[in-house]
């Protein structure tokens, strides 16, 4: 642990004087005692455990081996109870407000009529689906599964970077990381009181069941996957197994008389709730993209008539649009009359002339993101970009200002990682998972994503990111 030198950004483990923070002290002590050789040994065992479990994801565009073990780091990231409490309440507040917003925007649109939000911003959003206007969504729950991306600034303050309200992924890695860490460092766990994440499957099932409009005591819940070639297939299968429900593909389902059925060995069986891991566009070739072979013809019609529940609802992408994100603090104040507990990152809206001018003059300092993309695609990181890339981005912004937003380059916090040459600092974010049904459930933990490339600020798995087990402590020491 001696080779590790923290730099100027916020370090999860060490304070500015180079001392381990109190909640990391037992961990530091543990790894110092363990020694480099034993650590390598444990790492190999953990590698094998991931490989044998088949904890893999698919990389698009690789012909030789499409399945890769998800890169991970074996040093856990630790959050104290005091750090966790505002995250938990901030996330509850945010999901509540965003659900009220979606309900409003697809019915009376009061927030627009009251002048809080410009109507063009909503109507120009690619994920705003007119077909959803006036559709009655059970319980008014549009978003029941969220994975919110949080980052920390130099002072260690948490910010919301992104709300993922469509089909957020990664929760399986939270579960897999924990399982492997418990096998790899059992004695480290005994030095802490780490809160369990094992109840996620139960919590998810309860949430999904609560969404059903029917009077059944036990509505039939299924997980809808695009299939084994999808990059998150491992996760879809794991969630179905954790919940003990059937994992279906589009071709297993059919709609007759607005009822959704699955084809089983005992004939057709009705489906009540679908946790769909398929984007809106692909759900139903009749209502949306006609070339989708992954979806179910007639599903939207059944949904609109209330004969089946989808989680998340259709059209939720409008609320995690990167330009709309800038308005979430206003959205929270408008619907809840409260100040946001978790602050937003400052965001420039490029359809605003003054803000656009400022951004165009400072492209070398800012981060520009395409509003419709996710996974770190279509992104310009000013300080790490060439003049040519900046010029190209400037052209693109002038052409379609609505397609982009800009933010200051955030110096994400860093955490120590074991990458084969001792400990080295790497940038991290945090994605906790929130469930919203008849009540809100947050499993204490989440996915800590790591930018494994030295100096990199991009944590997405499709861009060379990995993950860490994330520990939320039951109570603070002292």
């Amino acid at each position: 642990m001696n080779s590790y030198v923290p730099d100027t950004t916020y370090d999860e483990m060490f304070d500015s004087s180079g001392q381990a923070r109190p909640h990391y002290a037992p961990l530091k002590e543990f790894f110092d005692e363990l020694g480099a050789d034993e650590l390598k040994h444990r790492r190999r065992a953990a590698d094998l455990s991931f490989l044998h479990q088949g904890v893999t994801f698919t990389v698009y565009g690789h012909e030789d081996s499409t399945e890769k073990v998800f890169p991970y780091d074996i040093i856990p990231r630790i959050l104290t109870a005091r750090e966790w409490a505002p995250i938990e309440s901030g996330l509850c507040q945010r999901i509540t407000a965003l659900n009220l917003f979606l309900q409003d925007i697809y019915s009376k649109a009061r927030i627009i009529n009251d002048g809080v939000l410009p109507s063009h911003l909503v109507l120009s959003c690619r994920h705003y689906l007119r077909q959803m206007r006036g559709v009655k969504v059970p319980g008014g729950v549009y978003v029941s599964i969220v994975g919110t991306d949080l980052v920390r600034d130099e002072q260690g303050q948490f910010f919301v970077l992104e709300d993922n309200l469509r089909v957020p992924s990664g929760v399986s890695y939270m579960l897999a990381n924990r399982k492997v860490m418990k096998e790899t460092f059992p004695s480290l766990f005994s030095r802490y009181q780490v809160r369990s994440v094992a109840s996620y499957g139960q919590a998810l099932l309860k949430t999904l069941r609560s969404l059903s409009d029917l009077n059944h005591a036990e509505p039939t819940v299924v997980v809808l996957t695009p299939g084994i070639y999808n990059s998150a297939y491992y996760e879809h299968a794991l969630l179905a197994r954790e919940m003990g429900v059937t994992l279906v593909e589009g071709r297993d389902l059919l709609v007759h008389d607005s009822i959704v059925y699955m084809r089983t060995t005992s004939g057709l069986k009705r489906v009540d709730v679908i946790y769909r891991r398929l984007d809106d566009d692909f759900l139903d070739p009749v209502a949306f993209r006609p070339d989708s072979s992954l979806g179910v013809p007639g599903l939207f019609n059944a949904y609109r008539q209330g004969k089946v529940t989808l989680a998340n609802a259709i059209g939720t992408g409008v609320a995690d649009d990167k330009a709309l994100y800038a308005y979430v603090p206003q959205i929270i104040r408008y619907y809840l009359g409260e100040d946001p507990i978790l602050p937003n990152v400052e965001t420039y809206i490029l359809t605003n002339d003054a803000q656009r001018q400022h951004v165009l003059q400072n492209l070398d300092k800012l981060v520009v993101k395409a509003v419709g993309e996710s996974g770190g695609y279509g992104m310009l990181i000013g300080p790490h970009s060439t003049k040519k890339e900046q010029d190209e981005m400037a052209e693109a912004i002038k052409k379609e200002p609505r397609n982009f937003i800009a933010q200051p380059t955030l110096d994400l916090s860093q955490a120590p990682c074991h990458l084969g040459r001792g400990l080295e600092p790497r940038r991290v974010d945090l994605r906790p998972y929130v469930l919203y049904g008849e009540k809100i459930r947050i499993v204490p933990g989440g996915l800590t994503r790591v930018a494994l490339k030295e100096g990199s600020l991009v944590v997405n798995s499709s861009q060379g990111g990995g993950s860490k087990d994330t520990w939320v402590l039951a109570e603070d020491e002292q």
Partner: protein, 311 residues
């Protein structure tokens, strides 16, 4: 709810897990026995032996004369869809589709065997110590089967694996017997010994029928014995049991035809005498048997997997 509901697509994958694993284990076992015994044979007999192995494993079209080459093509050749390596890859691919329906223990063991057999080091192990390779494959698959039996509820998931397994075993045995029971009068003691060993039956046979080997005794044991797991009678009995339980479990009212066919096959094996079978045209006998097995497969598909929707 999920224990009584099973997607037709999932049933299909489970069925093929059972079939591919059985095929892989059988191929490894036969190759292990035959390549070992070929070591002490004359070149001419060795060539004939290669020919027999190829037809016993349903690959006569490979048309090879060298045992080492044949063994490689049947064990490791990734381009041969029936090689041990391909069968295990296919079993694992099917398992990947139904991960949420099989136990983690079962999945991890299938994955381990796949990673082992698919790995590059395996080629040199196979070249230097082929017997160890075969044994590792066999033990690996037995472990999968053991974990399947001890970690899965006896519901549809387990039953579909069993149907695949026993149907495949019966089919493989029929082809094996067809090859080695032809021209029975020309067979030597070593031939019979090899056949018994291919079915891991030598010790069990000796306990029941003594040391003398002839075609009648072989028929009596490998076809008609109802207690030995690699006998045809036993395989069909297990197949019948699994199919009947499946019909009850799914409450499928159209399963009568399938039940009748398999029950009839079972009864034939139950009441026939060895000399009745040995006295008939064995080629015709096995040919009919194989066609019955194909019908069983088609009916399983029509009942449970690719059935027509009626409203």
């Amino acid at each position: 709810m999920s224990s009584s509901t099973m997607l037709s697509r999932v049933a299909d994958h489970l069925y093929w897990i059972g079939r591919y694993l059985e095929r892989a284990e059988h191929t490894a076992r036969v190759l292990n026995v035959q390549s070992h015994s070929a070591l002490e044979e004359s070149p001419e007999r060795r060539r004939r032996q290669v020919c027999d192995v190829l037809s016993a494993l349903r690959q006569p079209e490979l048309n090879l004369t060298d045992m080492n080459e044949a063994a490689y093509r049947l064990a490791l050749d990734p381009d041969n869809h029936s090689s041990v390596r391909s069968c295990i890859r296919n079993a694992r691919e099917n398992a990947r589709h139904v991960r949420e329906r099989i136990s983690s223990e079962m999945w991890e063991q299938i994955n381990k065997v796949h990673l082992h057999v698919g790995g590059a080091e395996t080629n040199s192990l196979f070249q230097n110590r082929p017997q160890q390779f075969y044994q590792e494959v066999q033990v690996g698959i037995h472990l999968i089967n053991g974990l399947t039996d001890s970690t899965i509820s006896r519901d549809q998931a387990w039953l579909f694996v069993q149907v695949g397994r026993w149907l495949e075993r019966a089919g493989l045995l029929v082809t094996l017997f067809e090859t080695y029971l032809q021209n029975a009068e020309q067979k030597s003691y070593l031939d019979w010994l090899g056949l018994l060993k291919c079915c891991t039956a030598f010790e069990a046979f000796r306990k029941k029928l003594g040391v003398e080997l002839n075609s009648l005794k072989i028929v009596d044991f490998l076809i008609l014995n109802e207690r030995f797991p690699h006998a045809l009678h036993f395989s069909i009995m297990q197949l019948r049991k699994s199919l009947d339980e499946l019909a009850a479990e799914t409450e499928n009212r159209k399963a009568r035809e399938l039940h009748r066919l398999v029950a009839k096959m079972h009864h034939d094996l139950e009441y026939q005498r060895p000399d009745e079978i040995a006295g008939t045209n064995l080629l015709l006998y096995f040919d009919r048997f194989r066609r019955d097995l194909q019908t069983v497969h088609a009916l399983v598909y029509r009942l449970y997997i690719s059935w027509e929707v009626e409203f």
